[in-house]
Amino acid sequence: DVKVTQSSRYLVKRTGEKVFLECVQDMDHENMFWYRQDPGLGLRLIYFSYDVKMKEKGDIPEGYSVSREKKERFSLILESASTNQTSMYLCASSLPKISYEQYFGPGTRLTVT
């Protein structure tokens, strides 16, 4: 069974804090993704990684950075959290083609106050 885990289900941070969201997958997938989900806007791709240390910007990368030092782990970093980054964050992984099925984690609901 494919498993994608995220470090926290719920997180509350203050404006200006540095925030790390961690994602781990156990299927040896090359591709990993970070999305955010907001009511009425669906899922929007923040960043994508197709290999260790490789990354591509998605639709909304502003205010975020990512790190992939190991194949199984993909981190999303909010350098200075702002209230407009309050959202549900979803991590996913897949085999090396975009057309392949993505496996999603349970999500982290981040609240920035």
């Binding site: 994608v4 591709n31 993704f33 999305y35 009425g40 806007l41 669906g42 899922l43 929007r44 791709l45 960043y47 994508f48 990684s49 197709y50 591509e56 910007k57 998605g58 639709d59 979803l90 996913a92 090396p96 083609k97 975009i98 057309s99 099925e101 993505q102 496996y103 999603f104 984690g105 349970p106 999500g107």
Partner: protein
């Protein structure tokens, strides 16, 4: 970028067939069409994927016309547990992550 458009919501009754259409007028030659299902407090889950014509699996069917500018997810005989949000995803078969586009999702409510 292939933008997708779906109805915001749909209602149905148990035992009925449900068809959800996704419009993707700017779909590129190497784009695939994929549908995901999402329940509250969970990540999306893959349902079905296709490139052209018709694809069927144990859960759903996917109909794609020749021009590929739209696709229809068909759920046969829905039950209450099919109440969820359904997303249409159009993406390329290369590794360009910025080619991924999710639709806004269709909230399906199945009533008894």
């Amino acid at each position: 970028l292939a933008k997708t458009t779906q109805p915001i919501s749909m209602d149905s009754y148990e035992g009925q067939e449900v068809n959800i259409t996704c419009s993707h007028n700017n779909i590129a030659t190497n784009d695939y069409i994929t549908w995901y299902q999402q329940f509250p407090s969970q990540g999306p889950r893959f349902i079905i994927q296709g490139y052209k014509t018709k694809v069927t699996n144990e859960v759903a069917s996917l109909f794609i016309p020749a021009d590929r500018k739209s696709s229809t997810l068909s759920l046969p005989r829905v039950s209450l547990s099919d109440t969820a949000v359904y997303y249409c995803l159009v993406g390329a078969s290369n590794n360009a992550g910025n080619m991924l586009t999710f639709g806004g999702g269709t909230r399906l409510m199945v009533k008894p």
